[in-house]
Symmetry: C2
Subunit: 652 residues, 2 copies
Amino acid sequence: MATEDTASPTGYVQPTVDVEALAALLDGEYAPVRDLVRTNLTAYADILEDAERLGMDAFRERVRDVVVELAATGQTGMGFPKAYGGGGDVGASIAAFETLAFGDLSVLVKTGVQFGLFGGAILHLGTERHHEVYLPRLVTGELMGCFAMTETGHGSDVQSIGTVARYDAESQSFVLTTPDDQARKDYIGNAARHAELAVVFAQLEVGGEQQGVHAFVVPVRSGGQPAPGVRIEDDGRKMGLNGVDNGRLWFDGVRVPREALLDRFAEVTPDGVYRSPIENPGRRFFTMLGTLVQGRVSVAGAAVSTSKVALAIAVKYADRRRQFTAASDTEEQLLLDYGVHQRRLLPLLARTYALHFAQDAVRTRLHEVFSGGAEDELARRELESRAAGLKALATWHATRTIQECREACGGAGYLGVNRFAALKADSDVFTTFEGDNHVLLQLVAKGLLTHYASEFEDLDQRGMVRYVTGLAIETLLERTSAHKLLERVRDLLPGEDKWDQEAGLLDSEYQLAMLRFREEHMLAGVARRLKRGVDQGAHPGNVFSQVQDHVIAVAGAHVERLVLEAFVERVRQLPDGDEKVALGLLLDLFALSTIENDRAWFMEHGRLSGQRSKAIRREVNDLCRKVRPLASGLVDAWNIPPEMLRSPDLLG
Amino acid sequence: MATEDTASPTGYVQPTVDVEALAALLDGEYAPVRDLVRTNLTAYADILEDAERLGMDAFRERVRDVVVELAATGQTGMGFPKAYGGGGDVGASIAAFETLAFGDLSVLVKTGVQFGLFGGAILHLGTERHHEVYLPRLVTGELMGCFAMTETGHGSDVQSIGTVARYDAESQSFVLTTPDDQARKDYIGNAARHAELAVVFAQLEVGGEQQGVHAFVVPVRSGGQPAPGVRIEDDGRKMGLNGVDNGRLWFDGVRVPREALLDRFAEVTPDGVYRSPIENPGRRFFTMLGTLVQGRVSVAGAAVSTSKVALAIAVKYADRRRQFTAASDTEEQLLLDYGVHQRRLLPLLARTYALHFAQDAVRTRLHEVFSGGAEDELARRELESRAAGLKALATWHATRTIQECREACGGAGYLGVNRFAALKADSDVFTTFEGDNHVLLQLVAKGLLTHYASEFEDLDQRGMVRYVTGLAIETLLERTSAHKLLERVRDLLPGEDKWDQEAGLLDSEYQLAMLRFREEHMLAGVARRLKRGVDQGAHPGNVFSQVQDHVIAVAGAHVERLVLEAFVERVRQLPDGDEKVALGLLLDLFALSTIENDRAWFMEHGRLSGQRSKAIRREVNDLCRKVRPLASGLVDAWNIPPEMLRSPDLLG
């Protein structure tokens, strides 16, 4: 089927994929650290079997040991300053984490908890005195810690947590208390077994005044026993990630010295005066949270990697498994030669490539923001928004891709010996941890609607509604980047107002214009609906609830536009050649299948005729046929260590 | 939010739900057997903890014991003749299975393997001599067996399996051989540990002639040891269902007597003459498979029940969990009062109700076909098609619903102590076992395209293409039931050709007409594309591959139409009152969200304007708000034993 396309009348020549060259392109500047991680993954490949073979307790110990041993190779400490034993390279630390996600996800998440969340909080919220005391032992994994933010009663809404830290000026110490069971810390990785320290988020109370949520370093365990006043409970077995010891923490008047406050953004003087360089409490809180943006970038990258593992198995299986005779009278047909099988897998493959490049862009931005000395607030907020949005899209994509790939491998995909069982169970929580995806997209929308106004952080849902309804729609739109970019459409595409009818479907400018139009139109729509609701006298909270699906949709549209831009940009930079043609096919497949998925919206808003919508469907089918002969090379270029695919029944 | 709707200007009065009355309506005629199963589920509720607590071996034994003990209560043998210790009621056996699916799914699947697949094969493919020898001990669970059809190399395409059964006239026996590893029986439930007998599907060879696939009773284990010539391997741990001992079987010249052939549809005389009342080999094969239709009806029902469990947890949680202040300045808002949360859960709730009633209809049909003496072939084929289609839609719905509900319960949903982990892992295989969903939908489409022609069973994909291309499109369409039903549209809806623009969105006739139009239009489109491809000289197999997504879409459209019809019919029969109003809301929500999901198609085909499409979106939102206050009652009416929800962290 593919050969008929090798030389078409349009001059299209079917490319071939040089796997090694494409792999080098994908690994990019971080190839050395990625290769170090690949070597380690192969060396510790047994962990995939341990996950099944060992009981939960033994597996937790095994995962801890592996994490400590990985730390000794330097791969987990890339993000810490060299002075404390780290690698001094934020981008490399994310790249290492992304690559580690090809392997067992308990190891990944334990690494994330220890070095990303716990270590990251000490590094970014603490100051030199904390760095000196904790970082050297933390970077080696000798000192294990946990990140105690979420409570049973409050996950997404961290500002409403119940744990209290009251300053006692007399003893110059903070007293931490869990007022009730809803305020217990819950689902805390490393808490049930291994953490000696916890970074605890609590409502700070100084001299009877509430100062909002702050972070404290609290010893929770010593010699394997809970510290005095600390109660620890095991969260027990989970759907997956059973090598990570999640648990619950209660504090019963636990006293820690004044220095336990991580004081980069706020301090309490010995005599009990609260001081912060950031006056606005909401802004202060979100600045603290913002330093933890690395966690979301890491999870997004991990989600892309798990999608790759699933697709690598399913594509390679479909390229060897035959079932039913079809095009031949005697030989059974390869699954990947069936139109529906291509439709199931190849748009997911294209989207995975798209997310890969979008992740590259966010990682690069993160590296710049965290490596540069300058504090550009707008850049930080945009980064936080991108990280939140990409985390949501990439993790949903992973859940969907793993499911589709499992089903595409039939009964064999259900066996524990193959990789899907673990992949599916372990990755499931990605969509809700490090921020629930819906809540994250609301955050993205809030940024768009307020154009990352400095008031941004202080706005709850109702605050946002009030803010937006105070602006003219035009003002709102003029500020958006989609608007600025759309203004260029008429220069680039023919047909003026009919650009959407006359442009070629495979023209990147057309594809970009479609996604920009959608974003801007949706944004205006949300703003109008919010205004109308408030004008009609409804409670802003009720207005928000009614418009909420629209709010989340605009955020999704925004992030998809950014993903497409990153992909287009990357392909444009490439020198001419087969790689560029092959990635161009994936780019078109991603762009058109994205438009196709939302073609109802484009038709409803006059940007797509029924005829053209059908033409896009045909073009997507055609692109699938063109990508099909490249599919195995495209998954090989991810360079996943073969041991990580671990599917003897599927890949032989 | 809901109260503003209690008395609207349109005369709509918000109903209340009498949970007990609705529960009685849902349980219907099988209430007694369902209550027996509920009692048993509660008595054996510990099994949900056993699934986590016990190792795989111990859990398998426990599940076996429970299945045998359940058999003693009569609930698992309902479908067998009374003469052999059964209940003599096919419909009741399905109802019992559906209800059992509220509980641990290993118990369910082990029950299905023993009494449905193994017992069903003996009952439906065997004759009296098999019934007398096996059924009495099989019904009690004393004699365990397995159903050895699937092979490593062939799952969906059973006609191509490799196991051979050669008749040896001299010894009057069959010799079973596994020619290679691709022909080993695989994923066979009960095979790894408990089965003494296997119903083995193999290519029958008599006097050097191939007679196609037939079923044989083969002893595979005695005193815990494999029978001579039989090799058994354990499939090991699976993603879920680890209480079921799936395994692999190889046969090395295993000899069984002539009577081992299950000979309802074919016999071999002692001197080696093959005889069958069904001359056409393809038709014979599909007649044999057709008797196993109960398996698919059972899985469809089980999928609906697992969706109910997930929704019951998520809806009840969302009706008590508060997060963020929104509509009030002081009190946090219930999750279920957020627009997006309603959008996530309530259309799934409506679709679950719709599938419930569709399942009722298919179960009733099954009961009639299998209880009536008359052999109406067309009725049988239609039943097989419905069962296949509903199985596909219901199992995909379950996968999607469980995932959405898990995410809607956040981190708590990820803990093993709550129900989602087990639900998700155990139900995952539903979409690919008892027939891969895509293959099943192709079967449905084949039935539609050939109007269940007697040639039906003999047609492979290419045969179907040739058959269809031999018909005039008009002939094809005139035969379809959607066509006949669409002819009535003009009588029922105003506006003649503009019926789609002028009818009320909440008019069931409009909703039905939309789904009928879609089905008929798609069917004509598929037929045209097949014809065109063949006319242009392409290979029928290639033509099929190119049209395959369209083929599967038409099958989905057909089944959704049947589901809607079943729901409409059920609501029409109800006496006026709150139940009718409440179910009417769910019906509208199901119908309109189904149209909404495919609104792109309706716009592309001129049956929905952009404006009307947006109006449907608003109506769905409005219906969500109306259903919201009823949601808890609607899930309570499923009468799921509270122990089965097992979500202490979520439901308190």
